[in-house]
């Protein structure tokens, strides 16, 4: 049973990884290898495989297979990227594995309530990754909100599904109750997606959770839940033939609000991760529109949209992660000139834009257009379609920023050329020289927030206060003021991902524990990068092997493979104005530190830069007696290349999926709206055999005997009552192959499905 193997791998590796968290190397290996094994297992799933469990069954379908394949590929890529970009979250691969397993379970179960409960439970592992390390209040709150959202949506779905499905369901249901159940399910999906007006959770989780975890939190698990809800609605609500116009209008309004306001919010955000969050909300609007359509013509585009949604949103989150890895910031204002400095990331963004917006003929564009047309009718559909195209606004804004003059951080972009051992030596030497530069003049003044980005003369607090605490950013770049050490991007990453306290202004001459005063060159005068500085005298006196080991050890520390030795010093910018760059709290393991860093209270502001230098020296010294780890050193040197290449690959996958590759449309078409996730799971008219593809009542698709794209027509005499098989007329559904199938046997739990007009 191919699905069982996937479940065993995902749940087994996920649990094993969580249980071995105290041994990071083992835990990371288990997680990454588990994802690889899960991918292989997902590729080997045989659609149609059926495992009977009690009175139900677990069935593999094309849609489920494609969903978990996309999810596993995205998860694996994001985990490797997170490892390379220093935003590793120790629960990340395990949470993704367990989430994928729960999604596969939910999409494969033929029981509607069980399927909904399982897909709802797929969101629970997100709680594990919503909390960053070290723990901060915001992360805990985000996790609590995530937990509440998942459990409440699960409860809503269980009650709603019980009303009109299940073994018996209510018979002779009044339309009001059916409408309430329908609304409750749509509400659950809206809460899960973070649709407007339930979007505050999404906004906050994007500000606290690791970027690599956003696809699991915002795209993968909600899309799986929405898929199960769509199956339930198509199989239990649409078949009642009740118009439910008021309920559908409410859902359409929510969907339209998501599309339009999501664009607005994404366009005005200053942070790329927040743009990702609101773009997720915007695209979720089309999934909400799909919930409002009872026409079978929407089955295929709705499911196609969900499949593409998972990949494109994962790719966009991965791109945001790569941007942070490359430039050390996700603030759009600080990314001026990125496009010219990082053409591979520009290519990746172009792929994501093409996969998200699409052009006529691509699956993604056609699916969006069909959903808008079917849900809204002709005048309003234009608004929704234009809303989809308006994604170009926020993508365009990011791109426009990219063609501007290079900001200091962007100028420090080290590039993604493959690095060999020789480069590692040279780079490590340059880093040592840089951190050994003399302390520059100090000054006082307001923080960057107070001064504003245009005030280049005023001291700025470098830092991104949004995620993982403050992220000190090396605006000064190097001692020569050329704005271009190749290590600056690395230092931007290494400066702090540990949740330092918020930046505070430093008064002249005052001592701020935990902060280092770093002079900064005016951002208005960035220069093009030059070649790496040659190693200085101090560096040359050091053993190259020692320096390489320092890099290797740093890589191991970041990967959680070795205990942290010390904080990393902020790089020294040229003489000029001052920045306040808070240092992360001491996390050392008592290694052979040569001198106390500023976190140990080494004195006033006059020695802060020197403290930074000592911090860097301590790192190197401590690593001097480290283990030989050439591979880790090369990984450290090339990890940005890996991150960027994976971003390009993920965007390419999204583009291929959006273009209809991998059989997206076919898999979506095969997911007929039977109860539960399985489309071929219900016993056939003779009871024993499940329906084959030719037996499913999935009209309105291009391979049906009727006119292509024509919706199912429900005969006026089809007085169908949810759950009440005895009330249904013995109408016959005509399958695609022309086979006549008793209608009452098609619906879930004996409910009747509408007959199909040939």
């Amino acid at each position: 049973m191919s699905v069982l193997a996937f479940l065993a791998i995902t749940f087994g590796a996920g649990a094993a990884g969580l249980l071995t968290r105290r041994r990071p190397p083992v835990s990371i290996a288990v997680g990454l290898l588990g994802l690889v094994a899960a991918l292989v297992s997902a590729l080997l799933i045989s659609p149609g495989d059926r495992l009977v469990v009690g009175t139900g069954a677990l069935v593999a379908t094309d849609f489920m297979q494609l969903f978990v394949v996309f999810g596993t590929v995205a998860s694996l890529a994001l985990c490797v990227m997170a490892l390379g970009a220093d935003v590793w979250q120790r629960n990340l691969p395990h949470a993704m594995l367990i989430g994928l397993g729960a999604l596969a379970l939910g999409l494969g179960l033929d029981d509607p309530v069980a399927g909904l409960a399982a897909t709802a439970a797929a969101g629970l592992p997100g709680v594990l990754v919503a909390i960053t390390t070290p723990v901060d209040v915001r992360g805990v709150r985000s996790a609590a909100r995530e937990l509440r959202a998942v459990a409440v949506t699960g409860a809503f779905a269980i009650v709603a599904a019980a009303l009109v499905s299940g073994p018996a369901g209510l018979v002779n249901l009044p339309p009001t109750v059916v409408g309430l159940a329908y609304l409750a399910m749509a509400l659950a999906v809206a809460v899960r997606f973070g649709a407007i007006p339930f979007h505050t959770r999404v906004a906050r989780v994007t500000g606290s959770a690791p970027t690599a975890a956003l696809p699991l939190l915002l795209a993968l698990a909600p899309a799986g839940f929405a898929s199960a809800a769509l199956v339930w609605i198509d199989g239990n609500i649409a078949t009642t033939a009740l118009p439910l116009e008021a309920e559908r209008a409410v859902i359409v309004v929510v969907g339209l609000l998501c599309i339009l306001l999501g664009i607005l919010a994404a366009t005005i955000q200053d942070d790329i991760e927040h743009v990702v969050g609101y773009s997720v909300i915007q695209d979720a609007g089309f999934a909400m529109l799909a919930l409002a359509i009872f026409d079978p013509a929407a089955w295929e585009p709705a499911r196609s949209w969900l499949l593409v949604y998972v990949v494109t949103k994962s790719a966009f989150a991965g791109w945001a992660l790569a941007m942070r890895a490359a430039f050390g910031t996700s603030r759009i204002a600080e990314l001026s000139g990125w496009l010219r400095r990082a053409p591979l990331l520009a290519v990746a963004l172009a792929g994501i834009v093409a996969a998200t917006v699409g052009v006529p003929g691509l699956v993604v564009f056609d699916a969006r257009s069909q959903l808008a047309t079917l849900a809204l009718g002709s005048p309003l559909a234009i608004l929704a379609i234009a809303g989809g195209l308006a994604s170009l606004l926020y993508y365009g804004r990011i791109a426009m920023v990219g063609v501007g003059p290079a900001a200091p951080l962007v100028a420090a972009y080290p590039g993604v050329r493959p690095r060999g051992p020789a480069w590692v030596f040279e780079h490590a030497a340059g880093a040592e020289v840089r951190t050994g530069a003399p302390a520059a003049a100090e000054g006082g003044g307001p923080t960057a927030t107070e001064a504003g980005p245009a005030d280049t003369s005023a001291p700025r607090t470098v830092g991104h206060p949004g995620r993982h605490g403050t992220l000190p950013i090396p605006l000064g770049l190097d001692g020569a003021g050329d704005g271009s050490t190749p290590a600056a991007g690395r230092d931007a990453l290494s400066a702090d991902v540990t949740g330092a306290p918020p930046p505070v202004p430093i008064a002249p001459g005052s001592a701020v524990p935990g902060s280092v005063a770093v002079p900064v060159s005016p951002p208005a005068a960035p220069t093009a990068p030059t070649s790496p500085r040659p190693g200085g005298a101090d560096a040359l006196r050091r053993d190259p092997k020692e320096l390489t080991q320092a890099w290797a050890r740093e890589a191991l520390e970041r990967a959680g493979l070795a205990p942290a030795v010390s904080t990393t010093a902020a790089p020294l910018p040229p003489a000029g104005s001052e920045q306040s760059a808070p240092l992360p709290p001491a996390t050392g393991d008592g290694g052979p530190a040569s001198s106390p860093g500023p976190e140990h209270g080494d004195g006033g502001g006059g020695s802060r830069a020197g403290a930074a230098s000592r911090g860097a020296r301590r790192r190197v010294t401590a690593a001097g007696g480290g283990r030989p780890a050439g591979i880790a050193a090369l990984w450290a040197a090339n990890r940005l290349l890996v991150v960027v290449l994976l971003t390009v690959g993920l965007s390419g996958l999204g583009l291929a999926a959006a273009a209809g590759g991998f059989g997206v449309a076919e898999a979506a078409r095969a997911q007929a709206p039977q109860a539960g996730g399985g489309d071929l799971t219900k016993p056939g008219p003779e009871g024993g055999e499940p329906y084959g593809p030719g037996d499913t009542a999935s009209p309105g698709t291009s391979d049906q005997p009727g006119a292509p794209g024509q919706p199912t027509s429900i005969p006026p005499d089809a007085s169908i009552v949810p759950g009440g098989a005895e009330s249904a007329p013995p109408a016959e559904s005509v399958g695609p192959a022309g086979s006549a199938v008793p209608a009452e046997s098609l619906g879930p739990s004996g409910s009747a499905a509408p007959s199909v007009a040939p």
Partner: protein, 206 residues
């Protein structure tokens, strides 16, 4: 017709849930939650498949154990209810009576009336902790009671769940308890209390 055994079990469920949401000592709350979850699993007509029933019971016990471990490692004091246990009891009783109303109206349902009544009562009891709890433990307690209530409503409307459904309901309960444990432990690591506060705080201002 209300079965006496189902009625007795449903009263145990509701009383235990009142204890769970009202207790100031988290350990007492866990005892109440465990009783409610175990008793809720047996309110069905016909009774679930023995294996499925056993799984639900084990899942309830495991969820309670996860919470117990959390409390043992953190703090046994919890927020309790601002309304007080008499008010909670009255609210639960009112919801229980409302839940019994469909039986008086003789509507067609597949499950026992007591299940619907107990389900309504549990959902009402869960509202305050789910919406207003600033305490991770209490939030998790409310969510587990909410899920139990939803499952009971489902039993009352659509009859005894199939084994697969029992399996997923048990997994969901364990998952919620585990996630609660994660949130509570991290909250305690940050603040020294179980306080979370899911409403926006100053640190949410960007």
């Amino acid at each position: 017709m209300i079965g006496l055994l189902d009625l007795a079990a449903s009263i145990v469920v509701v009383a235990s849930a009142v204890l769970a949401v009202s207790a100031r000592d988290a350990r007492a709350g866990i005892v109440g939650l465990t009783l409610a979850s175990v008793a809720a699993a047996v309110i069905a007509d016909p009774l679930p498949d023995p294996i499925a029933l056993a799984f639900r019971v084990v899942a309830a016990l495991f969820a309670a154990y996860l919470l117990w471990v959390t409390v043992r490692e953190t703090d046994t004091r919890t927020g309790s209810t601002a309304l007080g246990w008499p008010a909670e009891t009255m609210a639960a009783a009112a919801a229980f009576a409302i839940g019994l109303a469909p039986s008086l109206l003789e509507t067609d349902r597949a499950g026992p009336d007591a299940a619907l009544a107990a389900g309504f009562a549990l959902i009402i009891l869960a509202v305050v902790p789910v919406v207003f709890a600033r305490d991770a433990f209490r939030l998790g307690m409310g969510l587990l009671i909410l899920l139990d209530g939803a499952a009971l409503v489902r039993v009352g409307i659509a009859g005894t769940p199939a084994p697969l459904e029992q399996l997923t309901l048990g997994i969901l309960a364990i998952g919620v308890a585990g996630a609660t444990s994660v949130v509570a432990l991290n909250a305690f690591a940050v603040s020294g209390t179980l306080e979370v506060g899911v409403t926006p705080g100053p640190e949410d201002d960007r």
